[in-house]
Amino acid sequence: MKINFNLNGNDRTFETEPNEKVLDFLRRIGLKGVKRGCETGDCGACAIILDGKIINSCMLYTGQIDGHSITTIEGLGDNQNPHLIQETFVDEGAVQCGFCTPGMILATKALLDKTPNPTLEEIKNGLSGNLCRCTGYVKIEKAVVESAKKLGGKNV
């Protein structure tokens, strides 16, 4: 079947099987920043932003993104032009192995887009679906706080 959706700002059309998971689909078309950590919706490594909301792509079928907008980590920035949140994560030491990082950064973006000046509680809530085994979350929390400060309450 064919699906049409907005991928990182561009309208795209793809051929897919109805039973294909969005996680597998995105990786198949080359977006390898979407990671597989559990496939049961529990770790957030596969998280993407769907119409402004953070969601685990391993729990979605491709039909469910037809007609919608999604953002993956590749849509935020690249080595030459990293997004401010990406830079801040690195500056704060919030990246260790980096396997959870794309999901964490997207969760941060979804949070800050909606809540530009989050409380600590809102930060914890916004990132609660993303597991990290390396960092102990301390520096991740700090990176979100700093990102919010630097963005100065603006959505980016």
Binding site: D42, F89, C97, G98, F99, I123, R133, Y137, I140
Partner: protein
């Protein structure tokens, strides 16, 4: 003054990770990739009578099925340790016996995951089930079923008693010491199963290159051990194998294990096609685990609280195979006992086989289990002699210039290395922690009432820095035309930041900046040898190798610069990526020097290889304080504040060092409070998902304060010691001590789950 080390430079691979560009094992496409899956044993112990694959073979897309009856039978260990490994050779690619629920029975490679899964269902296996050992305390009983009765395994301590390993060391006279002690403490704990849960599960892809060599792209801590062990099991020389470790998604010990790569490799050799094995999260829980241990500590002290005698008995459960069986058990003694001075010390350790999931290396490596008992025992002693827990530790812990006979007596499955403490900032960390947690406000549990009761607890800890006289690392550095340097290291960055730390060390020695170092690591064809990332070794051992290589390169640069600037070598000073003639007040950039050496005159490649082993393993030290709140109605423990001071020598990169400690602490907190294996009556782990096996998320994070107390370790690169493991040792005993301080019950079983606490509270009335 340092320029590049002791500085929180940005992680060299940080941006590529944060943008999702960094390549992990699965992020490269392979044409015609096959998917590998295991058929796993449904029974804990039994003999495979027959395997019928005829139905599965017929499935279109099934390329190969490997099992006991069509593969070779080479005893080996999956423990990725140096050669010869101190772990027993008790494992086979496939055996005719299965030894735990989940043991490998057959391996299928097929054109899709679905087909491989379908094929598994079509394989018919006939088993003769045997009685099983499902508890470590049952393993040594006279009538216990023998788990490893095969003829050709070796290195097993006592097959008839299900003993994978055993050791006893004695210093002084422990029996007499305990008999004559004014104060005695006798206390035991049972620590539990747990899993590392790296967010990237185990994964590898194998393929043949254009010359037909087997390439193994794998998420490993030990590329060189992968090559050696795969060569052995696949019966081919090392020269036919290349192992590449790309970015990997966390490891924590579980990837110091070589047990997927040779299955995929075998299938690639048979089919000529690339093969991928990626464990599911559920499988990850029965890949490798932490050794559960029974630990008993008997302590003899005088009335002042001065310790004279320590006896530690350990029974460690290695599960079905003895991966790291001997050494993890050794470490529960060797990384704990030297912390306290005593004239009489005895360590008696046994590692038993059971028909349960296989244990292996896990951050903390036995020390975590040992401290679960030892640091509670210190508190019990303090209470008996009426002293403060901080004071009792200060008066007994090892000091600068001192040694412990245990360093020499207990090594890595054999004798160790005598080690005098040359750097320690433990008392400073203790004093800071006392302030941070308001220790002076601590009151005994007897004065507490109400539903919610707060408590404070503490503990002190040490670990090691690499394995002395065993671990070797090497590094190669060469200069480029522009004065940049390639640094090639066998060392393995697991996400720990070692690529960054090693680049910083190279930059410091070479008098340049970290961004002028191009690091490439962990590729058995392209980088020199390194044992890999384990035993808290990378900064200390691999860092030493980088420093050695850089020193040699520095000498060559000075030589060329002297020639260019027409002066003597001792007139040359290197600074800011330049060479200066002090006398002539002239200079050349490293770019000028690189070009000159490569193109202009007396041409040669400025470059050198450096290796390093250490004679000693200097311990990092740590003081931990915690405040908790216990809900006496539900038994739930809430951690309010966790304070941790660590002496890791010079922190090469303070931010990354803190990150190591924070990560280890949070891992330790959920190990202490929420992580547990639920087994059914066959020893099958029943809760293999993140829904049912709870690791901490960001919402569970308490107030956490980590502070580094830099000492200077003269044997380490720029004064560094290790930092990656020690943090995980703190949570269990510190929280257990706080629990006692809150409600007067002692935790000897873990995790400290609400039911368990409630039960204890009820017993106490």
């Amino acid at each position: 003054m340092f320029k590049e080390v002791n500085k929180s430079v940005k992680k060299v691979d940080g941006i590529s990770l944060a943008t999702g560009k960094a390549l992990f094992v699965d992020d490269q496409n392979f044409e015609g990739l096959l998917y590998g899956k295991f058929l796993r044993s449904p029974i804990p112990h039994g003999i495979i009578k027959s395997i019928d694959t005829s139905e599965a073979d017929k499935l279109p897309g099934v390329e190969t099925i490997i099992h006991y009856f069509n593969s070779s039978h080479i005893p080996h260990t999956t423990a990725g340790q140096g050669y010869p490994e101190p772990s027993p050779y008790d494992t086979y690619m496939f055996d005719k016996k299965v030894r735990f629920v989940g043991d490998n029975v057959a391996f299928i490679a097929a054109t899709s995951r679905e087909i491989a899964e379908e094929a598994i269902k079509k394989i018919k296996v006939e088993y003769e089930e045997l009685p099983a050992v499902l508890n470590l305390h049952d393993a040594m009983k006279d009538n216990a079923p023998k788990i490893h009765d095969e003829a050709d395994s070796f290195g097993i301590f006592d097959k008839d008693k299900n003993l994978a390993g055993g050791v006893e060391v004695n210093v002084g006279d422990v029996k007499k010491g305990l008999e004559e002690a004014e104060i005695r403490v006798d206390y035991s704990v049972d620590t539990h199963y747990s899993q590392h849960t790296p967010i990237e599960p185990h994964i590898c892809i194998t393929y043949l290159d254009e010359k037909g060599r087997l390439i193994i792209r794998t998420s490993t801590q030990v590329p060189f051990h992968v090559r050696r062990i795969c060569a052995m099991v696949l019966e081919t020389p090392e020269k036919n194998i290349r192992v590449i470790k790309p970015r990997i998604g966390g490891a924590f010990g579980t990837k110091q294990e070589v047990y997927l790569e040779y299955y995929a490799g075998k299938a690639t050799l048979l089919t000529g096609k690339p093969v991928k094995i990626e464990l599911t999260r559920e499988e990850e829980f029965i890949s490798r685990t932490r050794h559960p241990m029974y630990v008993n500590v008997k302590l003899g002290a005088d009335k002042t609280g001065k310790i004279h005698t320590i006896n530690m008995d350990v029974i460690s459960n290695t599960g079905a195979y003895g991966s790291h069986a001997l050494t993890v058990m050794f470490n529960s003694g060797s990384k704990c006992l030297p912390l306290y001075k005593a004239e009489n010390v005895r360590f008696n350790g046994k590692t038993v086989y059971t028909n349960l999931p296989v244990a292996g290396a896990y951050r903390g490596y036995g020390a975590t289990q040992g401290y679960a008992a030892l640091e509670q025992v210190l508190d019990i002693l303090a209470e008996k002699v009426g002293k403060d827990p901080v004071e009792i530790r200060k008066m007994n812990h090892i000091q600068k210039g001192e040694t412990s006979p245990i360093f020499k007596a207990l090594g890595e499955g054999k004798e160790g290395a005598e080690t005098f403490i040359k750097s320690i900032k433990l008392d400073e960390a203790l004093d800071w922690g006392v302030e941070e947690i308001n220790w002076q406000d601590r009151i005994p549990y007897t004065e507490k009432t109400g539903r919610y009761r707060k408590g404070k607890g503490m503990g002190i800890f040490m670990q090691g820095s690499g394995i002395p006289l065993v671990d070797m690392a090497s590094a190669f550095i060469k200069i480029n035309d522009d004065g940049s340097f390639n640094l090639q290291v066998g060392a393995t960055d697991l996400g720990t930041g070692s690529d960054t730390v090693l680049s910083q060390i190279a930059a410091e020695t070479l008098e340049t900046t970290t961004d002028n170092i191009i690091i490439y690591s962990s590729d058995t064809d392209m980088t020199p040898f390194d044992v890999g990332a384990y035993a808290s070794s990378t900064t200390y051992i691999s860092g030493g190798a980088v420093n050695n290589a850089a020193e040699k390169v520095k000498k060559q640069i000075i030589k060329v610069a002297a020639e260019m600037l027409e002066t003597h070598e001792d007139d040359i000073e290197l600074r800011d990526t330049k060479a200066f003639s002090k006398k002539n007040n002239t200079s050349k950039t490293f770019g000028d020097i690189g070009k000159y050496a490569l193109y202009i005159n007396n041409q040669f490649q400025i470059g050198a290889i450096g290796s390093h082993i250490s004679q000693v393993s200097p311990p990092p030290f740590m003081a931990v304080f915690v405040e908790i709140e216990v809900d006496t109605w539900t038994g739930k423990i809430k951690v309010l504040k966790y304070v941790c001071g660590v002496d890791c020598g010079t922190a090469i990169n303070p931010k990354l060092a803190e990150g190591q400690v924070e990560g280890a602490i949070v891992n330790g907190l959920s190990y202490a409070l929420t992580e547990r294996y639920i087994f059914n009556e066959k020893g099958k782990m029943m809760n293999g998902s993140f829904q049912d096996y709870k690791i901490f998320n960001i919402e569970d994070l308490p107030e956490l304060k980590v502070k580094l107390f830099p000492s200077y370790e003269p044997t380490g690169p720029y004064g560094a010691k290790s930092v990656s493991e020690i943090g995980i040792n703190g949570p269990i005993p510190a929280i257990a001590n706080a629990l006692y301080n809150a409600v007067g019950v002692r935790a000897h079983k873990f995790p400290m789950y609400p039911e368990f606490i409630l039960n204890k509270l009820e017993k106490n009335g």
